[in-house]
C-alpha cells in the first residue's frame, strides 16, 4: 500500500490506530499516586485547601504524549517506507545493462553507476541474470548472476571517447543470440549509430532507458587568435543563461601544478556556445598545459594545449646596418615577414639579447664577432639554442671558417663563393633539389620557380655529406647543419634577402623555417603535412579528464592523429613528434552536442530518485523518546522530580536582571545625594562585599562627618554614566571581563574630570605592587588603557594622611604594604617652616592597593560587621583605621586640595593680623 511517497509493508496493522481512543479513556481515569514527604514546615500548611480538585486526572498534554507514543509504535510496526522503489516489470529473463560509456556521461557517472547498482540489486532479488555492456568498449556480453555483475560495476569507467559507428557495429555483434531485457544508461547526448544500437537491442527484447536529462559541457581546443587565447565552450541545450569558469592550468615558475588564470564564460539565453578570450603574457601562455571547465569531470571539458599556443622567441641580428633606408634590401626584412605572425621577435645587440635566452638566434650575414660575443653565443648554443646563420656579401668576403672550421659554422667555406646565371656567367640560376629522406625538410614540395643565383660554397670535407640537409640541383649544399652540444648551428648558404636567390620570396622559405621549428604553426597541421610521421603519446586523458602518463601506449601515425576518430587506439592526449608536440582533444569543433531523442515506445526514467528509506526505526525511536518524556513528565507531575529546583536555577539564569533601568532614574538616584559607587565585576560575592563595604563606609561618614551619603550604587562600566560619582571602588578579580573601548573612553573622561578610582587587588599585595599575583596581572591588564599619571607610594606628607584623620598607614582587612597614588611633581619642595611640601593641586585620579578595604568596611544594614578583621582588639583597631582611611579618601576626593592649602593658614593669619 502506498500513501503519497509513503509505502507500508504491513498496512493491516494500521487498524490498531482505531483503538487509540479507548486508550485515551483508560489513561484518563488513572490519577497519579501521591508521594509522602517529611517536611517540618507542615505546621504552616495546615488548613490550606487546594484551589481546584479536578487535577487528579492526568493532564491532557500528558495523555496526548502517550497517545503519540502509542501511535508511533503502531505506525512504526506497520513498516512504513519513504520513496519505495516502484516494481520494474515482472520479467524473469536476463537483463543487459547498457552504458554509452563516453566522456559525455562522465559528469554524472556516479549517479549512473549508483542507479545501475540499484537495478542490479533489484534484478538480483528477482533472481535474474545480468550482463554489462559499454558501447565505447564493446566486449562480448556475458550474463552472470546479478550480484556478480554488480561486483564488476565498480571497475567500469567512462572512456574519453564516444561511441563511433565502428564501435556500435562491434557492440551489436557482441550481443549474441539470446533474448534479454535491456536497461540503457544513456548519456542523453545524440551520437552516430545510436538509432542502430537501439534497433539492435530491441531485436533482443524490450528496452528501458535511464536518462539523467543533464547534458554535458565541453570545451573546444584553444586557439591563438589576435594576441589572445580564444576559448569556446559548448553545451547541449540552448537553455537559460549559464556562467562557467575556465581554468588555465600549468606549471608555475617553481614547476608546480597551479592554476595560472581563470576566465569566466557566459552562455547567453538560447545560445549553445560561449566564447571568451584569455590574454596571457607569452611566457605564461607557454606554460599552460591544459584548459578545463571548473567543476566538470569529463574529458570533453578539458582542452589540452600544445605548441600551437607557444610562441618562440627569435632574436634577429644583422651585420652592420649601413644601408639605412633600403628596407627591401635589408637582410632582415624577409625574416621579419616570415616570422612575425608566429614568433616573438627580439632585435638588438647580441650581448643584450642573449640574457633573454631566445629559442632561436638568427645571424644574417654576420661575419665578425668579438671574443666575448663568440664565447657567449657558443655557450648558449651548447645549452640547446638554435643558431641560424644566413650568408651574404660580408660573410663571403670574410676569412671566417676558411682554413679551419669555426665553432659556430657548420662547414668550412671556400673563399669568394660563386655566382651562377648572372650576366657575366654561362650557367643558368640553379633550382633546388628535392629534399632527401633524412632531411628535416622531407616532404615539402619544391616550387619550380625558386632559383639561386649566388651562394657561398662549402669546402669538401669527409663530414660534409652528413651535414647537408638541402642542396641545389647540382648537388652543392644549400643548407648545412651541425650539432653543437644540445643545440645546433644551421647555415643557409644564401642571403636572407632576395639579392642572391628568390628563396625568401617563396612560401617554401616559411615552411622551411617552420620545419626548423623556428616558428610554430597557428593552424593545426593537415593530415598531408604529417603523413609518414609517428607520434608518441606523452600524456593521455581518461574519461573524467584526468591526465595519465601514456606509459607503453603505442605510437600513432601522423595522419591518424589528425584525422582518425578517437577510440581505444587513439586516445585524447598530448603526442610528441620529432620537433614539436601536438594535442588531440576529446572535443572537436565539428562535434555538436544534441539531446538524444527516444521514440515514444521506449520508457524513459530519470536517474535522480530519492533513496528508499525505511521509517520504522525512526518511528519506534520517536516512540521511545516520547515514553521517556512521559516518564519525566509523570515524575514532575507527581513532584518526585525536583524539576522545580532545576527550573529555578534556569529561570534565575535566564532572568538575570536586564538592567532595564531608565537612565533618568539612575541619574536622579546618583545625583540627589553623594553616592559612592563600586564597579560591578560579575562575581556576585565580590559585588555584595563591595556594596556592603561602601554601605559601611557611607554609614561611618554619616555618623562622623558632614558628608551624608546615600546608599552606594553599583555601576556597569559598559552602560552607566560615571561622572555622577565622586569615588568608584573597583575590586580586581582575575576573571572579570575587560571593559570595551567605549567604556575606557568614559573611564578616561571620568578620571580627567576629577573622579577617583580606588583599585583594590584584595590580595594584600603579596607579590609587591603590580607583579606576580593573578589579581596584580589583571589589574595591569585593566589599567593599561587608562589615562593614569606616574604613581608613587603615598608619601608621608600626602593629603590623604590628613584629610580628616591623621593616618600613617592604610589598612583594610589586610595590613598590606604600599598604597599608590599619583606622584608629586618633581619641583615640589618643602618650604622652610612648613610641615608639608606644597603638593599638587588636584586629586589623585587613582588609588591602588591590595588591602581589601571593602571587606573591612563591610556591614549589614544593622551595622554589624560582616567579616572578621585581625584578632581581637587589635583587629577592631585595624577596622577602625580602615574606616578612617575611607573617610580620608572621601574627604580628599570631595575637598580636593583644601587640606593641602591649610599649610598656608599660619601665613594668612599672620598677614591678617598685620
Amino acid at each position: 500500500m502506498t500513501l503519497g511517497a509513503l509505502g507500508f509493508a504491513t498496512p493491516w496493522l494500521l487498524w490498531a490506530l482505531v483503538a487509540l481512543p479507548v486508550l485515551w479513556l483508560l489513561l484518563r481515569a488513572v490519577p497519579p499516586a501521591p508521594i509522602r514527604r517529611r517536611f517540618p514546615g507542615v505546621a504552616l500548611l495546615l488548613g490550606l485547601k487546594d484551589d481546584d480538585t479536578v487535577t487528579d486526572k492526568t493532564p491532557w498534554w500528558l495523555l496526548l504524549l502517550r497517545m503519540l507514543a502509542a501511535a508511533a509504535v503502531i505506525v512504526g510496526l506497520s513498516g512504513p517506507v519513504l520513496n519505495p522503489e516502484p516494481a520494474r516489470g515482472d520479467g524473469t529473463g536476463p537483463v543487459l545493462i547498457v552504458f554509452d560509456g563516453g566522456w559525455t556521461g562522465a559528469q554524472d557517472w556516479a549517479a549512473r553507476a549508483a542507479m545501475a547498482d540499484r537495478l542490479l540489486a533489484e534484478a538480483g532479488r528477482a533472481g535474474r541474470v545480468a550482463g554489462l555492456l559499454r558501447l565505447t568498449t564493446p566486449e562480448p556480453v556475458v550474463f552472470q548472476p546479478a550480484e556478480a555483475s554488480r561486483g564488476r560495476l565498480a571497475g567500469l569507467d567512462p572512456q574519453p571517447w564516444e561511441p563511433s559507428a565502428a564501435l556500435i557495429e562491434a557492440a551489436a555483434a557482441a550481443l549474441g543470440e539470446q533474448d534479454f531485457e535491456s536497461w540503457w544508461m544513456s548519456d542523453s547526448v545524440e551520437y552516430d549509430g545510436r538509432g542502430a544500437m537501439l534497433a539492435a537491442l530491441e531485436a533482443h527484447g524490450p528496452v528501458r532507458v535511464f536518462d539523467s536529462g543533464r547534458g554535458a559541457l565541453a570545451l573546444l581546443p584553444a586557439r591563438y587568435e589576435d594576441g589572445a587565447v580564444a576559448l569556446i565552450a559548448r553545451r547541449r541545450d540552448a537553455a537559460g543563461m549559464q556562467e562557467i569558469t575556465v581554468l588555465a592550468q600549468g606549471r608555475d615558475p617553481a614547476g608546480n601544478e597551479a592554476i595560472l588564470a581563470r576566465l569566466p564564460l557566459r552562455f547567453e539565453t538560447g545560445a549553445v556556445e560561449a566564447q571568451g578570450a584569455l590574454a596571457l603574457p607569452s611566457e605564461m601562455r607557454a606554460r599552460v598545459t591544459r584548459f578545463e571547465i571548473e567543476g566538470q569531470r569529463s574529458a570533453g571539458a578539458v582542452a589540452l594545449s600544445d605548441d600551437s599556443l607557444r610562441r618562440r622567441e627569435v632574436a634577429l641580428i644583422a651585420g652592420r646596418d649601413d644601408r639605412e633606408g633600403l628596407e627591401l634590401l635589408s637582410p632582415l626584412h624577409y625574416l621579419h615577414q616570415a616570422l612575425a605572425p608566429s614568433a616573438d621577435l627580439l632585435e638588438g645587440a647580441l650581448l643584450d639579447v642573449l640574457p633573454a635566452n631566445p629559442d632561436v638566434i638568427i645571424l644574417a650575414d654576420v661575419a665578425s664577432m668579438t671574443e666575448p660575443e663568440q664565447a657567449a653565443l657558443l655557450e648558449w648554443t651548447d645549452k640547446g639554442g638554435l643558431l641560424l646563420r644566413f650568408a651574404g656579401p660580408r660573410l663571403a668576403a670574410s676569412e671566417l671558417s676558411r682554413s679551419e672550421e669555426d665553432a659556430l659554422m657548420p662547414v668550412r667555406l671556400r673563399s669568394g663563393g660563386r655566382t651562377v646565371g648572372g650576366a657575366m656567367s654561362w650557367g643558368a640560376p640553379k633550382t633546388l633539389a628535392p629534399f632527401s629522406e633524412d632531411s628535416p625538410f622531407h616532404g615539402l614540395a619544391v616550387p619550380p620557380d625558386v632559383s639561386v643565383s649566388a651562394q657561398v660554397m662549402a669546402q669538401p670535407d669527409p663530414v660534409l655529406a652528413d651535414r647537408v640537409i638541402a642542396q641545389l640541383s647540382d648537388g652543392t649544399p644549400l643548407v648545412t647543419r651541425k650539432r653543437v652540444g644540445q643545440g645546433q648551428v644551421v647555415l643557409f648558404h644564401v642571403a636572407a634577402n632576395a639579392e642572391w636567390s628568390s628563396l625568401p620570396l617563396s612560401g617554401l622559405f616559411v615552411q622551411m623555417l617552420d620545419r626548423m621549428a623556428i616558428s610554430s604553426l597557428v593552424e593545426r597541421p593537415e593530415a598531408e603535412d604529417l603523413a609518414g610521421s609517428v607520434w608518441a603519446p606523452v600524456q593521455v586523458l581518461d574519461g573524467f579528464g584526468r591526465a595519465r602518463d601514456a606509459g607503453t601506449l603505442p605510437g600513432v601515425a601522423g595522419e591518424d592523429l589528425v584525422q582518425a576518430p578517437l577510440g581505444p587506439d587513439l586516445r585524447p592526449g598530448v603526442y610528441e613528434g620529432a620537433t614539436r608536440r601536438l594535442a588531440r582533444n576529446a572535443m572537436t569543433p565539428e562535434r555538436l552536442l544534441i539531446r538524444a531523442e527516444w521514440p515514444a515506445r521506449i520508457p524513459v526514467e530519470g536517474l535522480a530518485r530519492a533513496p528508499e528509506t525505511p521509517l520504522a526505526g525512526y518511528l519506534l525511536a520517536a516512540a521511545l523518546v516520547a515514553l521517556l518524556l512521559d516518564v519525566l513528565a509523570a515524575l514532575a507531575l507527581s513532584g518526585r522530580l525536583m524539576a522545580g529546583r532545576v527550573a529555578v536555577v534556569v529561570l534565575a539564569a535566564l532572568t538575570v536582571p536586564q538592567n532595564a533601568r531608565a537612565d533618568d532614574t539612575f541619574a536622579v538616584m546618583a545625583t540627589s545625594e553623594v553616592v559612592l559607587a563600586y564597579v560591578v565585576t560579575g562575581n556576585a560575592q565580590i559585588d555584595d562585599t563591595s556594596r556592603a563595604g561602601l554601605l559601611g563606609l557611607s554609614d561611618t561618614l554619616f555618623f562622623r562627618t558632614s558628608v551624608e551619603p546615600a546608599p552606594p550604587m553599583g555601576v556597569d562600566l559598559e552602560r552607566d554614566e560615571l561622572s555622577f560619582f565622586p569615588l568608584i571602588y573597583w575590586p580586581v578579580t582575575p576573571d572579570q571581563p575587560q571593559p570595551t573601548t567605549e567604556a575606557y573612553v568614559r573611564l578616561n573622561r571620568y578620571l580627567r574630570s576629577g573622579g577617583m578610582i580606588v583599585f583594590d587587588t584584595r590580595d594584600a599585595d603579596i607579590a609587591g605592587f603590580g607583579a606576580g599575583s593573578p589579581n596584580g596581572r589583571k589589574l595591569r591588564e585593566l589599567a593599561d588603557p587608562l589615562d593614569i599619571p606616574p604613581l608613587e607610594a603615598i608619601p608621608g606628607d600626602h593629603v590623604l594622611t590628613r584629610a580628616f584623620y591623621l593616618l600613617q598607614d592604610f589598612p583594610g582587612r589586610h595590613m598590606g604594604r604600599d598604597v599608590w597614588v599619583e606622584a608629586a611633581p618633581l619641583d615640589a619642595e618643602k618650604v622652610e617652616g612648613m610641615p608639608f611640601r606644597n603638593l599638587n593641586d588636584g586629586v589623585t585620579p587613582v588609588v591602588i592597593g591590595g588591602n581589601d578595604w571593602a571587606a573591612a568596611w563591610a556591614t549589614d544594614v544593622r551595622g554589624n560587621a560582616l567579616f572578621p578583621v585581625g584578632r581581637g582588639y587589635a583587629g577592631e583597631r585595624q577596622r577602625e583605621l580602615a574606616y578612617r582611611f575611607g573617610v580620608n579618601l572621601v574627604m580628599h576626593v570631595l575637598t580636593g586640595n583644601y587640606k593641602s592649602d591649610q599649610v598656608h593658614v599660619p601665613a594668612l593669619l599672620d598677614r591678617l593680623g598685620q
Binding site: R37, P40, L44, G639, R640
Partner: protein
C-alpha cells in the same frame, strides 16, 4: 528496662557523640577570639582602674594613702568593674529539628547545637556563666559546664515541635533561644513575655533548612512532620507554595515583632550558610545586649 549492658552501650554512644560536637563547637568558637578585657568602668575587680579625688560619701578606708601622700588631695583607688553575666540557653531538641533536605546539609538540630555550644564556649572564655533555661542546668562558669551542656544537647526529645522552656530565668540575665520556631507560636510568645517581665533580654535564632524557604514541591503530596504526628495532603503542592511562603514570612515577622516589643533580637539562619556568620551575629547580638559593646 535498663540493664548494665544497655546502659554501658548507651553511655558509650553518648560519649562518642560528645567529642565531635565539642570539637566542632570549639573549632567554631576558635574563629572568634576575645581579648582579656574588663568592663571599662569602675567596679569590683582585681585590676587597677583609676584614681579619683575623694568625694563626699567615700569612707576613709577607701582612700589610697600611698597616692594621696604624694600631694595635698586625697585619692580613692578604683578597681575595674568585673562582673559575670549569666547567659541561659534553650536549644530546641524536638523532632522537627532533626531534618535536613539533602545529605550535604547538616540537620537543623546539629547546626543549632553547634552554634549554641560555640557561643557557650566563647561566653565561658569571657568569664560569663552559662546554663540552660529551666532547672536542669543552672548557669555556672568553667569548662566543666561546657561538657555538661554538650551532654544535655545530646538528648533528643520525642515531641514534634519544641516549646521554649522559660522557667528558672534569673532576673536581668541574658538568654539565647535556638529553634526553627515552626510549631505553635503562643508558647514562644509566653516565654518571651515572661522573660521580659524579669528583665531578661536575649536573642532568638531561627534555624531553617533552605528547602523550608524554597518549598520546591510539585504534584500530589502528603506532607508529614518528622515525628509523624501531623500530616497534610495536597493534590497540587505547587499551588501551595505562595501561600506557604506567605505564612512563613508572617511567622518570621511575628517573631521579629515580638522581639522588638520585648527588646530581644531575632535572626534567621539557614543550614546552607556557614555557621561562622551565624556565630558572629550571635556573638555580637549578645555582646550588644551586654554592657556597651563587648565587640568594640
Amino acid at each position: 528496662m535498663i540493664t548494665p549492658q544497655t546502659l554501658r552501650a548507651r553511655a558509650e554512644d553518648q560519649a562518642a557523640r560528645l567529642p565531635p560536637l565539642l570539637a566542632r563547637a570549639e573549632h567554631l568558637a576558635g574563629t572568634v577570639l576575645l581579648g582579656e578585657h574588663g568592663r571599662r568602668r569602675a567596679g569590683l575587680g582585681d585590676d587597677f582602674w583609676q584614681y579619683r579625688p575623694v568625694q563626699a560619701g567615700d569612707s576613709m578606708r577607701m582612700i589610697d594613702w600611698r597616692r594621696s601622700g604624694r600631694g595635698d588631695a586625697q585619692y580613692v583607688r578604683e578597681r575595674e568593674w568585673q562582673i559575670a553575666q549569666s547567659v541561659m540557653l534553650w536549644v530546641d531538641q524536638a523532632a522537627s529539628m532533626r531534618f535536613s533536605s539533602t545529605a550535604d546539609l547538616p540537620e537543623k538540630a546539629d547546626r543549632a547545637r553547634v552554634l549554641a555550644l560555640a557561643v557557650a564556649i566563647l561566653l565561658v572564655r569571657g568569664g560569663e556563666r552559662v546554663g540552660l533555661t529551666g532547672s536542669s542546668l543552672p548557669p555556672r562558669r568553667g569548662n566543666n559546664q561546657i561538657v555538661r551542656l554538650a551532654e544535655f544537647f545530646a538528648i533528643d526529645s520525642d515531641e514534634d515541635f519544641g516549646v521554649p522552656e522559660a522557667r528558672g530565668m534569673i532576673p536581668h540575665a541574658r538568654a539565647v533561644f535556638v529553634s526553627d520556631f515552626m510549631g505553635d507560636v503562643e508558647p514562644v510568645k509566653a516565654a518571651l513575655i515572661k522573660a521580659a517581665d524579669r528583665g531578661v533580654r536575649g536573642v532568638l535564632l531561627q534555624v531553617l533548612d533552605p528547602i523550608e524557604e524554597a518549598f520546591p514541591f510539585q504534584g500530589r503530596t502528603v506532607f508529614e512532620s518528622v515525628g509523624g504526628t501531623v500530616s497534610h495532603e495536597t493534590l497540587k503542592a505547587g499551588d501551595l507554595r505562595a501561600r506557604y511562603l506567605r505564612r512563613l514570612a508572617g511567622r518570621k515577622a511575628e517573631l521579629a515583632d515580638l522581639c522588638h516589643v520585648t527588646g530581644w533580637q531575632f535572626h534567621t539562619h539557614h543550614t546552607s550558610d556557614s555557621a561562622q556568620s551565624a556565630l558572629l551575629w550571635l556573638w555580637q547580638a549578645i555582646g550588644h545586649g551586654a554592657v556597651g559593646g563587648a565587640g568594640r
